[in-house]
């Protein structure tokens, strides 16, 4: 992987400053969670110690304060992940609608196990806990997009599309809003 300089581009930096401006003076640490999302989106989908140190320097807080937070929340990846992180929900309502079989199907299709990344670095498969899509179960999330009412064919189509697109999916992506 090419070594990028760790510095937000101008556009992101403006967003970062906007985040910081939302909180009272001296309470800028409040912006930490949103900024970590921006950092993860910009720096290859994960938060390396260097990236976290950079965020600490922007907010003038101790590095450990960033590590503590980044490691607490499940959306921050502390290890590299594939371009498309497929997060499949499997808590009760999704399980009742076949989430386990959806996971098995993806495993077979991509030739990886849960928690693994495909050799081409395209897909990482992760199982997650309830994402609030119980009425449209089973579901998975990739970037900010909710893929709902899944079945095997739908999963295949989604994966093919993602593969053809080839780009990294982030939470900042535009999303197609599903109607129930």
């Amino acid at each position: 992987m090419e070594k990028k300089e760790i510095k937000f581009n101008e556009e992101t930096m403006a967003l970062v400053n906007n985040m910081i401006s939302r909180y009272p003076e001296g309470k800028h640490k409040s912006a930490l969670l949103p900024i970590l999302h921006l950092a993860q989106a910009e720096f290859d989908g994960w938060l390396s110690p260097e990236v976290m140190d950079y965020v600490a320097s922007i907010l003038s807080i101790q590095k450990i304060e960033v590590y503590e937070v980044a490691s607490f929340y499940s959306m921050y990846n502390l290890q590299p992940v594939g371009n498309c992180l497929l997060e499949v929900c499997r808590t009760s309502s999704c399980w009742l609608r076949g989430a386990n079989e959806i996971v098995e199907h993806i495993e077979k299709k991509l030739g990886i196990k849960e928690g693994e990344t495909t050799a081409d670095g395209m897909f990482t498969l992760k199982t997650v806990e309830c994402l609030g899509s119980c009425g449209t179960a089973p579901m998975m999330m990739c970037g900010a997009q909710f893929h709902e009412n899944l079945n095997f064919q739908k999963v295949d189509t989604i994966i093919e599309k993602l593969k053809a697109d080839g780009k990294r999916k982030t939470y900042l992506d535009e999303v197609v809003v599903n109607h129930y």
């Binding site: 110690p49 590095k63 450990i64 590590y67 503590e68 490691s71 607490f72 929340y73 499940s74």
Partner: protein
């Protein structure tokens, strides 16, 4: 002022006093055990749940009992409050549960742990735990890490009391260690194993209730109950210089702060006194340290030698490790 009754003993205390502080004022018989609370550390307490008590009467004004057990370290007294600690079966049960939870992932490696003999978890298990373990699942393990030249972190033993984090927050500046990860994966860490580089960092050892943070200069030197504590002081430009020297023969094996009957240091001491000043000639000796501690550590010493009948085999309860199938 507020009048509070704990296990039938009444005391009048200033408003804002916690149940735990009031109980300690009454005496060790009614004081609930603590693992995370530390009176010298702001915002400590509330996490371990060993000091849960039953409030059977809320106050004179509102005599209703509190619906749940409360953490005595974080609950302030009200005038007329009645509290049950040892007198409450609910408390005994809950505490037994807490001990079981704290030991669930604890390695029970007391035989090779430097803290053994002055370990609060040992005492707690001995007094409130069960003799049997009911889990046969693999325990959570971590690699040992050195945090700086003097302190070793043995995360397997940690009970996440947060005391060391609070020390780092409150008496050192530029904290580099904290709690990372979540739930039962939580660990005390510097994440990138940065050294705690601060004159007072050694105090994390004194506040640690278990053997998670230990003194590397004392590592495997001796069981604590074979060493003799002596009060001593020196002129120190960083701290009060008031310490306890732990002797084995002529040698000072370690230096610690002076702990009171609740196991809390009276004053925090600096790293120079703790780690680098281990010659008798460096110190003015005050005399033997009075140890008002119920653990084995006090059994060998001075006037606190226990009477033989208390040490007969039949009355010694087995430690939690015995009878386990771990």
């Amino acid at each position: 002022m507020a009048k509070v009754t704990i296990d039938g003993k009444t005391i009048e205390v200033a408003d804002g006093t916690t149940i735990l502080q009031a109980a300690r004022m009454i005496g060790p018989d009614v004081a609930p055990p603590t693992m995370c609370y530390y009176s010298k550390l702001k915002t400590s307490g509330g996490y371990c749940r060993t000091c849960l008590v039953e409030v059977s009467k809320g106050s004179e004004k509102d005599p209703r009992p509190m619906p749940k057990l409360v953490a005595s370290c974080r609950t302030t007294v009200m005038d007329g409050m009645e509290v049950k600690n040892n007198d409450s079966e609910k408390v005994t049960e809950a505490r037994k549960g807490v001990v079981e939870f704290l030991l669930l992932n604890h390695p029970l490696d007391c035989p090779v742990c430097d803290q053994a003999g002055e370990c609060h978890l040992q005492d707690l298990s001995y007094e409130h735990g069960s003799a049997k373990t009911r889990t046969d699942f693999e325990r959570r393990t971590f690699e040992k890490i050195d945090i700086g030249p003097y302190v070793q972190l043995h995360m397997n033993r940690c009970i996440l009391c947060y005391r060391c984090v609070k020390v780092a927050n409150q008496i050192t500046d530029g904290r580099v260690h904290g709690v990372i990860n979540r739930g039962d994966h939580s660990e005390i860490s510097t994440y990138v194993e940065e050294a705690i580089d601060n004159d007072f960092s050694g105090n994390v050892i004194d506040v640690c209730p278990v053997g998670a943070l230990t003194d590397k200069t004392f590592r495997f030197k001796s069981r604590v109950w074979f060493t003799k504590p002596v009060d001593a002081h020196r002129n120190c430009d960083k701290c009060s210089g008031k310490v306890v020297l732990w002797y084995k023969g002529e040698d000072v094996l370690r230096v610690t702060g002076r702990k009171d009957q609740w196991g809390e240091v009276e004053e925090f001491i600096c790293n120079t006194c703790r780690f680098e000043t281990k010659k008798t000639s460096d110190w003015t000796i005050e005399g033997p340290r009075k140890l008002d501690n119920h653990s084995v550590i006090s059994a060998n010493h001075y006037e606190f030698l226990k009477k033989p009948k208390e040490l007969t085999i039949n009355t010694v309860k087995p430690l939690a490790i015995e009878g386990g199938n771990n």
